[in-house]
């Protein structure tokens, strides 16, 4: 009889703890990123990359190395690391993204903010940076 009571108490306790834990489950939605405040200098920045087959290849290669893990292979924002971000990663296929100037994409890609890291020390050369910008244009 004593054992039955003990088991009953233990089961009730476990159930209560489970209920408490469930009460704290909140939806883990990612927040949408605020609008970018791109400095005027970057907005009007001119894309200086020469449109060569070599640079096209470099753009794809560097995108794969530096961007793909978050932005995904086709730019949908569905890379393996995307799910662990607090901010939702927008698709490069969005008309809103593609409507930006090259300079705006450059600023967002290499200067960055918050969860979008700065890549200026990882991609050192201007033509390589523009090659990545050009590659994101092809992902529309």
């Amino acid at each position: 009889m004593k054992r039955v009571v003990k088991n009953l108490i233990a089961s009730t306790l476990v159930m209560m703890i489970a209920v408490v834990l469930f009460a704290f489950v909140a939806p883990q939605d990612q927040k949408a990123g605020a609008a970018w405040a791109v400095p005027a200098k970057y907005k009007s920045m001119k894309n200086t990359a020469k449109k060569t087959a070599e640079l096209e290849k470099v753009g794809k290669l560097l995108y794969t190395k530096h961007c793909k893990s978050c932005h995904g292979g086709t730019g949908l924002g569905d890379g393996p690391k995307a799910a662990s971000m607090k901010t939702k990663i927008n698709s490069f296929k969005d008309a809103k993204f593609q409507a930006q100037s090259d300079g705006e994409i450059y600023y967002e890609s290499f200067v960055g903010r918050d969860e979008m890291p700065n890549f200026e020390k990882k991609v050192l050369e201007e033509d390589e940076r523009w090659a990545i910008v050009d590659y994101t244009r092809t992902l529309k």
Binding site: K65, K121, K122, E125
Partner: protein
């Protein structure tokens, strides 16, 4: 014969590549500087070897090198993964000025602490002004075992086999290497190197010095993946040997594997014959022969590197 092999390897890098002009003129008539080739290798490490690659200035690189036991026992020790005698090295490198890095690491085998430096003297350039990358690498290893581990079998014993006074310098070993590399195309890069190793104290019958040649490279099979290989051959040079015959010759080492690289990481998984992680140990002590017993003398290993820019 061996000197011919070295000569042919080095010649194969240099031949057919002429030294082009140092600056080309673009369509607007502006002279453009010839820039270094992009990523001849993805990391400063290629299995157990060094590459001519040094990360950007003010970059800290952390490296974990892990090598399991030999696969010879099969599934009984999960192909060496659960075998005793795994070797591990933890290291940190920092690029203090462009193309020059310093580093330190500690290896489980003999609790060896190593201090190292690498200098890429020349970088191969895109238009061939400089057709090769040339780097110097050197380290000093400090055997960190208890003093009692020294003595038995060491050359610093007298004729009555009594130990002479142990000197702290007996712990030191040195490795210096000249690396010559070339990225032949986006897919294929290769390096040849010659090294000189020295141990202050060695067991009876061993030489204090050893010269070795090295050959390694990568074949890129996808934007992030490459097949990698490394070969080390210690040379038996009578002129620098202290022995009448090479009884305790170290054996050649062969490794091959696959590398995956991302923005800040390089991950290499491989199989190789040497159980050492420090190059001077491989050159001086490797006794696993890849020409015998199939893959039994190979060990599985992996490297992970992580970069932080400051």
């Amino acid at each position: 014969m061996k000197k011919y092999i070295v000569f042919i390897i080095l010649l194969s890098f240099i031949s057919t590549y002429s030294f082009a002009q140092d600056a080309a003129t673009d369509s607007t008539g502006v002279k453009e500087k010839d820039k270094p080739v992009r990523s001849p290798f993805e990391s400063g490490y290629l299995i157990d070897a060094q590459t001519t690659v040094i990360p950007n200035v003010k970059t800290l690189e952390a490296v974990i090198q892990h090598k399991f036991g030999t696969v010879g026992n099969g599934h009984s020790d999960l192909y060496g993964i659960y075998a005793a005698g795994a070797n591990i090295r933890l290291g940190l490198n920092y690029v203090i000025i462009k193309n020059f890095q310093i580093g330190a690491g500690i290896t489980k085998a003999n609790m060896t602490t190593d201090l190292n430096a690498k200098w890429t003297i020349f970088q191969q350039t895109r238009r061939g002004t400089m057709p090769l990358s040339i780097a110097l690498y050197g380290n000093v290893g400090i055997d960190g075992r208890n003093i009692s581990a020294f003595g038995s079998g060491m050359v610093n014993r007298d004729y009555n086999d009594l130990p002479v006074t142990f000197k702290p310098s007996d712990r030191y070993s040195y490795f210096s290497e000249l690396i010559i590399g070339r990225k032949f195309c986006d897919m294929f890069s290769m390096q040849a190197a010659v090294s000189f190793s020295h141990y202050n104290a060695v067991p009876v019958g061993y030489d204090h010095e050893k010269v070795a040649v090295h050959l390694n490279g990568r074949i890129k099979v996808s934007p992030q993946g490459s097949i990698i290989f490394n070969y080390d051959r210690p040379l038996e040079i009578k002129q620098i040997s202290e022995q009448f015959s090479f009884v305790h010759s170290s054996l050649q080492n062969l490794s091959f594997g696959y590398e995956i690289s991302t923005s800040t990481h390089a991950f290499q998984i491989y199989m190789g014959t040497t159980k050492s992680l420090l190059p001077q140990e491989t050159v001086m002590t490797n006794q696993n022969d890849f020409t015998k017993n199939g893959l039994s003398n190979f060990s599985i290993g992996f490297n992970i590197t992580r970069l932080w820019g400051f």
